[in-house]
Symmetry: C2
Subunit: 454 residues, 2 copies
Amino acid sequence: MNIQKPSIPKGTRDFGAIEMARRNYIFSTIRSVFALYGFQQIETPSMENMSTLMGKYGEEGDKLLFRIQNSGEKANEPAEKGLRYDLTVPFARYVVQHKDELTFPFRRYQIQPVWRADRPQKGRYREFYQCDVDVIGTKSLVCELELIQIVQEVYRRFGIRVSLHINNRKVLAGIAEVIGEPEKMMDITVAIDKLDKIGIENVNKELAERGLSNDAIDKLQPILHLSGSNEEKLEQLSVILAESEVGMKGIEELRTIFELVNNSQLPPLGATTLHSKLSTLNLELDLCLARGLNYYTGAIFEVKALDVEMGSITGGGRYDNLTGIFGLPDVSGVGISFGADRIYDVLNELNLYPDTLEQTRLLFATFGEAEQAYALQWAAALRQKGIPTEVYPEPTKMKKQMAYADSKHIPFVAIVGGDEMANNTVMLKNMTTGEQKQVTLEELGNDELNRFAK
Amino acid sequence: MNIQKPSIPKGTRDFGAIEMARRNYIFSTIRSVFALYGFQQIETPSMENMSTLMGKYGEEGDKLLFRIQNSGEKANEPAEKGLRYDLTVPFARYVVQHKDELTFPFRRYQIQPVWRADRPQKGRYREFYQCDVDVIGTKSLVCELELIQIVQEVYRRFGIRVSLHINNRKVLAGIAEVIGEPEKMMDITVAIDKLDKIGIENVNKELAERGLSNDAIDKLQPILHLSGSNEEKLEQLSVILAESEVGMKGIEELRTIFELVNNSQLPPLGATTLHSKLSTLNLELDLCLARGLNYYTGAIFEVKALDVEMGSITGGGRYDNLTGIFGLPDVSGVGISFGADRIYDVLNELNLYPDTLEQTRLLFATFGEAEQAYALQWAAALRQKGIPTEVYPEPTKMKKQMAYADSKHIPFVAIVGGDEMANNTVMLKNMTTGEQKQVTLEELGNDELNRFAK
């Protein structure tokens, strides 16, 4: 038998118990907020037909698709199936394929891995989870409000302070129009998206390289430097874009969204208990926010953590024709995507994980077989009280059993010897403080453990 | 733009909102029981190196592996990566690769999809979830007990009556020995595994085809027809296998497991509240239980639903050298796997899903923009009370909003018109009974909805 050195493909990861407990905390927090807003989960297959995937992510994206070899006679023909590259295209495919079964507006969320044959590097993986939430089938800006509220509530629960940057593709189109380069909206978008990273001089250089006239670049400068409150910026912008129909439509949409957000942060109606527990939202109109994807047509969002240097941790926007390619035109939707890997890093850096993630709370350590049988009965009772419990499976040296508890960070050990059995107790040890005390089964419950933990 | 008819690869599935809510119920029920027993979740990559996968599932299995095309220059060379075929081999690879970070005995569970290029047919898919739980690094039969308890508790929570069939590979080896065909243990195993499906005559025919002597087949017959209680069967078997060392070891293991199970079902110790809420376990020694996989070396299990015609819904066993191929010999472990797709079907057939799976509890339907703004504030308050709430995003025709609630099976609609706004109420409608009443925001909570539901 050949012995193989175990390894995994580059760009992929194993997640151990601690990482998984943290990832589960992230996903379950996000899911529970989605559920409060009436979003329901769907899942699509890991493999899609290549025809579903090709041409949806640009030329570069096509190259990054993982292809599945055909089986049998077709092995040497072009691959028929590929791995999901994101959750958006499968979602569009799903909506069209199942349109007769769905109730619109359709509210769904989806948390699944995606695969990209990217060159692996720090923080960039070939397999990673996406976590998307979308409403499709309505143009109502109430959906934008709800997504903003979801962002606010998710990060409130995590304890991460964030700012939410918002812009509108129609405003960007209006800007392209009034500076005299209406065809160059995507070029402008791509260039100014980099303002934060490369600075204004390099942005202007790139704009010139992308064929913008000097005149247009000059006209763009004051727009990139608008200042003041969101309302003040919109006021100035409405003068600049006065001649652009699409630009003014974008301003109107932004005004409506700000208004909806402001109203939803108002003090309670009448004498009720409506007072919002949400922290104040940092909602910032950011005219340099562009987002690379070309299917956005309305509001676009990005969320950044205030206390950690990190790229966008959540982003999204409105699209008017995502399902068109699959034969269902003119269905507007809006969605955002939470970046689980980056949220993981932010929580780590700020040390914001709760103390009690999924793990064993109490281990029975025993001196012999009779003690073990006794412990097994206690364990069954504690599990009925909802306490995650283990019995060390071998009545081996006490030192080894304690080392096991230590290494797994199990907070309590219940030691069982002959004395304890004789008087129907266990010796409960707090592994943090070293404190010990005898307890009966009636006493031993979550309350007692919480008291003893202090 | 070409319009594509949306479809997915054969043998794969989309899961819609209702299916996902049910699947989430299944997985979360199983997970919460695993957690009570101190098992922790891990995840491994969807892709493994082909060297990890090849040769682990027999010749047939190698053919059913989904291979990923290499990229770039290596595109025409044999695939370096393949999709996970089960969770067992990746688990073995994981344990060896991370052995220095793990605490043994290592208790893990894993719930992830696997892929097989099988011919798709009813109930057989090319992508499906497995749900495995294992302890590795101890020979203690307490682990077998815990897995049996987990099975019992999981199915108790589901409300599914089951029988748990148990056998032992060492007993099967002993039988092969005493009938004079020690080399043919796997042949015997594979044949008698089919007893239920094809009957004793066909089993005997297959045994002959597999090269067993008539004498051996004759000797096997009484063993296949042992009857009585588990203890009686073991008693008879211990006479038959008296000359086989391995067979007697198997009997001893089975006796220990039965004893552990019996003790754990005893009445409470002393005057405690230990009384088990678990239903009585149908644990049945089944000498025809063989299980196809060749890595099992000790106890083997299978679980069947009593009230539905269906194959095994959970199965597993002990293995002594799963990690050997990756360079870590002599590490014994035991595990079981829950079949989510079959459990789904059983719950469906017996109509055992809880009424309230993840879904919107209340929809606000409004007559205009002012009413919608009012509803948005109420919705925020209800969500703070933990009630999954939607506001219909457009103040369109009331009929359309009610149809939306109907089609999504939302149990309550809160109707908001001018009158309701004027006196700070909503008109709450029970969508099942048609009953309506005016309520204030203070009144509107989970308790009120529960009362009104009746």
